[in-house]
């Protein structure tokens, strides 16, 4: 009897595991089957590199949105990565473990705040600040980068903490025994040893930044153009899909699915590189 129930449980878990996989597969097949015909008909080059996005006139060029997505993501990384890694180093190396055990879950709670709330704070607090002190309409590339930079902190901090904690104690002890200060140990021993884990955390955070939609729609202003400065409004790929999906029919709808294909490919590349970096770390040890 116990053997039997074990078998049933095993089969059940297998089915559950494969259901997640098949859901992913279904999504991929659906998006690609909807988007690819459009790309073939319209031309990949024209679709990716034309700056004209005017669905009513049959013009579907997503280049400004590709550029904007990259800028917003880079901006978010520039803000989130240094803060996140510094935070992780501080929590692991410079405060007692008990303090870390309180602060780390608190930071992870940040990940649970719905993105509309971040967007709302962005619109109500951040945008007016930018408009009054730096100029421009406030809803801008800069506002998007700052909000996203904060939203990715939990990802970077918790994965970085895990990889810094995984550095063997003997490394630090060796360094300290040689007379290095705590900071020298962190800089020359701990961080290089945890490098691949930290890199993976940053890549995963980048995936989150690219995929974020709600907060970005609220704070970036959504103009379709290549930004000339950080204070100008921009529209990202995800925002484009979410904004226009409700009205789109025919070619327009297919074009939005094709935009989804582009996003899907980008996020796949990021995830594969993240898991590649992670595997490197395991292989080396």
């Amino acid at each position: 009897m116990p053997v039997n129930s074990e078998k049933i449980m095993q089969q059940l878990l297998l089915a559950v595991a494969f259901s997640a996989l098949s859901a992913l597969l279904l999504i991929a097949v659906f998006i690609i089957s909807q988007g690819l015909p459009f790309i073939f008909r319209y031309g990949l080059g024209e679709f990716l590199f034309s700056s004209q996005w005017n669905p009513q006139a049959g013009k579907f060029g997503i280049f400004p949105m590709v550029v904007s997505t990259l800028w917003v993501t880079l901006g978010a990384m520039a803000i989130g990565a240094p803060l996140g890694v510094a935070g992780a180093v501080f929590l692991t190396e410079f405060v007692p473990r008990t303090v870390m055990r309180i602060i780390k879950p608190a930071i992870e709670l940040l990940a649970g705040i719905p993105s509309v709330v971040y967007g709302f704070i962005g619109v109500m607090v951040l945008a007016p600040l930018i408009r009054d002190h730096l100029g421009g309409p406030g809803l801008s590339l800069l506002a998007g980068s700052i909000i996203l930079g904060i939203m990715i902190l939990p990802t970077i901090i918790s994965i970085s903490i895990d990889s810094i904690m995984a550095v063997p104690k003997s490394y630090r002890e060796g360094s300290l025994a040689l007379g290095a200060t705590v900071w020298q140990t962190v800089r020359m021993v701990t961080l290089p040893a945890a490098r691949s884990g930290i890199a993976a955390s940053i890549i995963l955070a980048m995936g989150r930044a690219i995929g974020e939609t709600m907060a970005v729609i609220m704070v970036t202003g959504n103009s379709v153009k290549i930004p000339g400065s950080a204070l100008e409004p921009v529209r990202t790929l995800t925002a484009n899909i979410a904004l226009e999906m409700g009205y789109a029919t025919g070619m327009h709808r297919q074009a939005l699915f094709a935009t989804g294909v582009v996003l899907f490919v980008v996020i796949m590349i990021l995830n594969f590189s993240a898991s590649y970096v992670m595997r490197q770390r395991k292989a080396r040890r």
């Binding site: 619109v123 309409p137 959504n222 409004p233 904004l243 409700g246």
Partner: protein, 264 residues
Amino acid sequence: MIKLLRSPLMVLVTAVLILGCGKNKQSITLAGSTAFQPFAEKLAEQYMAANPGASITVQGGGSAVGIQSALSGAAQIGMADLVNLPPEARELNATIVARDGIAVVINPANKVKDLTLDQLRDIFNGKIKNWKAVGGADKDITVVSREAGSGTRTSFEEIVTGIDLSGNALIQDSNGTIRETVANDAGAIGYLSHGLLNEKIKAVLLDGQECTTEKIMAQKYKLVRPIFLLTKAQPGAEVQSVIDYILSAEGQQTIQQNGLIPAK
């Protein structure tokens, strides 16, 4: 995705209908314009209270969805709020059941009171960039518009004519977010449904005309769009009676009480 979400719901609704009340109820679906959706829901409630045998479902989705679902038969009645219906809607019966004014709004801190259609066009084209050019303070204009395909935007651009929206325009995805943006930015200008005006924003006079129910009914205020109900060539008796109810004095009163302008 909306379809996927809707289908289990439909199954549930159908199941409840079949199991719950053995006698067959007439079921009519209205779909489309999000601007008219809340009014349609209210009217459907009233109609169902008066006719216990009827069952009306109201769905949103936007004017394009309204036209498509009326054509495909997914909904018996499509709702659309466009100045000119697209060519594919020509084979449908269109009835105007209400009108909706589009108010041009600015921040209350802005001292500009009156704009002409020509000035409005140049502002949205990006030719006029500073409020000084239209009698305001020396301040940059922030143009706020809706996304491509929006019924409000399509109507606005068709009435003002000649708008090739400036690349610097902010795009917001609903009447509500347009209102927030304009309320928060002293240099902003946007447009929204006249029923959604409040004290946080200020409507400007357009060619000297105020955006009010009276001016719209007297056809003095120019930015007005009709709200259409679309049916296939020969609507059934039940469908016709729903439309008749919306056009009746009681239906039109409900429309007016809730901020739209009655058709008659």
